[in-house]
Subunit: 409 residues, 2 copies
């Protein structure tokens, strides 16, 4: 299985993104056990689906995949997309088939689901700290030789090595470095070096390098301000990388960055791959950070992920009520935006209902009519749904199970 | 099946809430096909479960069920709990077994799941406005004779009657009345009366009464302010009820209210049943509305729904990072609170990580330690999880599938 998957990947690597490459069932996708494809929904218009429904526009999605891959390749680095965004093994396999090094995951349960559905190149960016999770991770590592996990304390590294020893394996580990936000990771410099040397010396661990994710840099508005922050945020990790290299450590991986900094991260010396997640979908949050040409809208990637919703109430002046509220859209800000329309706002603060308010609207809606929303923040929105409808020219081409939805452990 | 279910309900009605009544497998619960009970997890301490994990404390939960039922009974009305809160057929059956008239649902997909899992007394409070949803609702009505649905426009009422006629059935309908927020519902008074008379006259609909839900009243802080708002908010619906009664219409149902107004709603003339949802679980949002005795905390119901989370990072001064972020807690406010501790705040604004900040903490946490959170807003939190662990004295007694999770259509 590994061989055929890799040869497929090698075959596709570097070729243009085509629709066949993206989703046509093949030996890789056939491994998806819980494929929810309902033949009666293939070929129908997304406007005829029951609502609320989560859709991805394949033309935009494919262009986003290509833009990311072309950019990192031309900058001499790789991408290792973060699967926490989509939780969808089909998308993970497509990203790898189109040139990604592999994927990142945030939780061991996500890692397990990805592996169960045919994804083998997995870097779990969050450390497993309890005996239960460490055992799960090592069981996965026993089956999946390319699984890499993060650590950031000496105690945790020792626990990982002992758990690996108990299973008779040697596990690949990267050291997570704190960019300064103190959320996770070890302090850069001497503490990180000492931990890396410990990992390198432990009998059942293989030191593979470092990761450093500066989430705060991703959403800085304005290209130059974001670039300054991104490079500054990574500077201590870069110095640590250099120190580790001089110490003779294996520095195969220096992973970090994301959708907001994907075209800056290569400026950090030693950096190997971007953990970009949202670029495939985009959302109103990322749209507002601005692009390189000083456009106020971040146009590098096109919004591909939308929710189609139906108007339930239209009889009151100046407003309408829809069927997509917080349980379909989350309450993240900026609020969802109505595709193709102006002069109206959309809020999803109510659990069951969305609210449209008209100011100087390009149109108004009647009860029973449908409209489409660009999502507010793609990661938690995807986590509300069991499937994504993949459409082209508004027609359903495939239905992708969000197999790792709710896998928060 | 209906007979044995009803006799079980009649048997239990009015008896004290006991643990056996609450969850012991029986002919009703045996109908739950996707029972996720994992025998290896029964009897273990909730502190030993993998995290993040959603738990309900059975002692508090049972007391909440009893308080609600005793209060509405002593006030001469009923309760018809809203299943949008729990999305869990096991809980719905327990509510009915302990005296509830039935349940409410927000979506037709929720109604379907509840019926598939043995719940038959269903009032869907949101109107079905598209041909697809109306067809689903009528198919459900064909199988479930006690299914009632809402309408609030003449056009919709005519569509419902035609769809019922196509299946050769007569469907029960209530008219949803707008309390003034213009979210859903028809305007009280003459418009509502005209619609009720239309429903009553249509060949394939049975008019069953009205509903009016004033969501804004539920969270008004302070008992007297809330009472004033609740009664004021329902006053036009109450006048409409009187007009409809004088017009000779069947006024079997006058449903509305919720957890914040459950002990005020009976003051509205004609009112029949409270659609309370959150009372079984409580959350930080409801806790802050204040109780009858002018306590700043709403103590009528005890928090029963918690998330157990593990500390991932403890090496930085003044803070800790946990494994329960927005995908496990939502970003609703007030933020979750740490059970039993003071001098610390918890935020779940980050998708994957929770943040504890210490001010004058009653304790601090080390990496790998667990803690328990009262949830921020129970409805959307439950909608993130596939199961609830039901515990007593911290031991797992049952695992309840959240079978309608994600059913937003």
């Amino acid at each position: 299985m590994t061989d055929s998957f890799l040869s497929r990947r090698q075959f596709l690597q570097g070729t243009a993104v085509t629709s066949a490459a993206l989703w046509t069932p093949n030996s890789a996708t056939a491994r998806t056990a819980n494929n929810l494809t309902n033949e009666t929904e293939i070929g129908v218009s997304k406007w005829d689906l029951d609502t609320p429904v989560l859709c991805v526009d394949l033309d935009n999605f494919e262009q986003n995949v290509k833009t990311m891959q072309d950019t990192v390749t031309s900058n001499g680095i790789d991408c290792r997309p973060h699967a926490k965004t989509h939780k969808c093994p089909t998308i993970a396999r497509l990203q790898i088939a189109n040139g990604a090094l592999g994927i990142c995951t945030a939780k061991v349960s996500e890692s397990e689901i990805m592996f169960e559905h045919g994804v083998e190149q997995i870097l779990q960016t969050t450390a497993n700290v309890t005996p239960t999770k460490i055992k799960r991770a090592m069981n996965l590592r026993r089956q999946c030789s390319s699984f890499v996990q993060a650590t950031y304390t000496e105690q945790n590294a020792r626990m990982l090595s002992e758990a690996a020893a108990a299973l008779g394996i040697v596990a690949d580990v990267v050291v997570d470095i704190d960019p300064g936000g103190h959320r996770t990771g070890i302090t850069a410099g001497q503490p990180a070096l000492a931990l890396a040397q410990l990992v390198d010396s432990l009998p059942n661990l293989n030191f593979q390098g470092i990761l450093c994710y500066d989430g705060g840099a991703q959403h800085v508005s304005g290209f130059e301000a974001r670039r300054t922050r991104a490079i500054e945020g990574m500077s201590q990790a870069a110095e640590t990388y250099a120190v580790m290299t001089r110490a003779g450590l294996n520095m195969k991986i220096f992973s970090g960055g994301g959708t907001g900094t994907y075209n800056m991260d290569h400026e950090t010396p030693g950096f190997t791959d971007v953990q970009s997640g949202s670029y495939i979908f985009m959302d109103t949050s990322y749209r507002s950070i601005g692009s390189r040409d000083n456009n106020e809208i971040y146009t590098d990637f096109a919004p591909s992920l939308t929710i189609v919703t139906t108007v339930l109430t239209s009889q009151y002046e100046g407003r309408a009520t829809t069927d997509a509220g917080a349980k379909s859209c989350t309450i993240n800000r900026p609020w969802p935006s109505v595709v193709g329309e102006t002069g109206m706002s959309y809020t999803s603060g109510s659990d069951e209902f969305g609210t449209i308010r008209y100011e100087n609207p390009s149109r108004t809606y009647q009860t029973g009519e449908t409209l489409e929303l660009v999502v507010s923040h793609c990661d938690p929105v995807v986590n509300l749904y069991d499937r994504i409808y993949a459409t082209r020219n508004d027609q359903v081409e495939a239905i992708w199970p969000i197999a790792a939805r709710g896998k928060n452990q």
